[in-house]
């Protein structure tokens, strides 16, 4: 197995994985989206809401705000908590939100009792309050995985594709394939020959194959190489997200092994 880094940003990572099965690449992708836990506002108590939005809309908007924690491991998910789901400081982070108009309520107005827990992005609008309108909300956030609800998804845009392999054979230098490519993968070099300049951008659409009158071009997926693109919601760094996803799969596989040993 080989990993090559292509692009790394705070919220996004792109890497080339060679020598793995599609099931493994897909496992990483799925685990990033639905098995890595994160915090999200779970339940709210509304004391006052005279804004133009219904209570339910306010609650949905609050739930969808991505949250970050300095140390997420101090919280356990309600199912695994010692309180057995009753609710305790080990599995809940309380917050309060009070605002009086005229003003725009932003995500940063949500204040948590734990100073380590913050909203991932400031400036997400919640509701605009007019003169004399009030919003008083209290509630708590819990840690769960994306399989429970998409607001707990820490990986939002995750995908993979096979690495393409483009072979150019008996080229007649007509340049049609260069023109038709929507992602500018091909280019003509000095000798008017077609050259692959941006292999990773290729989406294997095969328009160039259809366009070539001489069947000189072939585009095939490399079966054991994958380009994975993982983008998070800001609650966790993208590079850590992949690590957590792989650890999650490892943990589950380990558990199967243990259970099998118990049963046999």
């Amino acid at each position: 197995m080989k990993v090559e880094l292509i692009e790394l940003r705070e919220d996004r990572i792109r890497f080339l994985l060679t020598g793995a099965t599609a099931a493994f690449a897909n496992g990483i992708r799925r685990a990033c989206m639905s098995e890595v836990p994160t915090l999200a506002i779970d339940e709210i108590r509304l004391y006052d809401n005279t804004s133009v939005l219904f209570d339910e809309q306010i609650s949905l908007r609050l739930g969808l705000i991505p949250l970050t924690a300095e140390d997420l491991d101090v919280y356990s998910s309600p199912e695994d908590c010692i309180c057995e789901g009753a609710g305790c400081p080990g599995c809940r982070v309380d917050f309060i939100l009070t605002a009086e108009g005229p003003k725009m309520v932003y995500s940063q107005d949500v204040v948590f009792t734990d100073p380590g827990v913050k909203v991932a992005f400031e400036g997400i609008p919640v509701v605009v309050l007019g003169e004399g309108e009030k919003l008083v909300v209290e509630g708590y956030a819990t840690k769960r995985t994306g399989s429970a609800h998409s607001k707990w998804q820490s990986g939002t845009t995750c995908g993979y594709k096979n690495l393409p392999r483009i072979d150019i054979g008996d080229c007649q230098k007509c340049g049609k394939c260069v023109k038709v490519c929507p992602r500018d993968v091909l280019a003509l070099d000095e000798g008017d020959r077609v050259r692959v300049v941006n292999l990773l951008a290729c989406s294997l659409c095969k328009l160039c194959i259809d366009e070539c009158d001489y069947q000189a071009i072939t585009v095939t997926p490399v079966p054991d190489s994958f380009v994975l693109t993982i983008e998070g919601d800001g609650s966790i760094k993208a590079k850590d997200l992949v690590v957590k996803a792989a650890e999650e799969i490892r943990h589950r596989a380990e558990m199967i092994g243990e259970k099998m040993a118990d049963l046999s």
Binding site: I41, D42, R45, L46, N49, D55, S59, G63, G139, K151
Partner: protein, 45 residues
């Protein structure tokens, strides 16, 4: 149960038996139910 008249904005007690839904001060027929003072608990979804 407290209502509020949408025309004269006054708080209104409605006597269902006697007058039906109607503001006793201005006779307007459109009344708004006030938000109860209880705390509303809901899932953030």
């Amino acid at each position: 149960m407290a209502y509020r008249c949408t025309r004269c904005k006054r708080t209104v007690e409605v006597d269902y038996e006697y007058s039906g839904i109607r503001c006793p001060y201005c006779g307007h027929r459109i009344l708004m139910k006030e938000r109860p003072t209880t705390v509303k608990k809901m899932k953030a979804v």
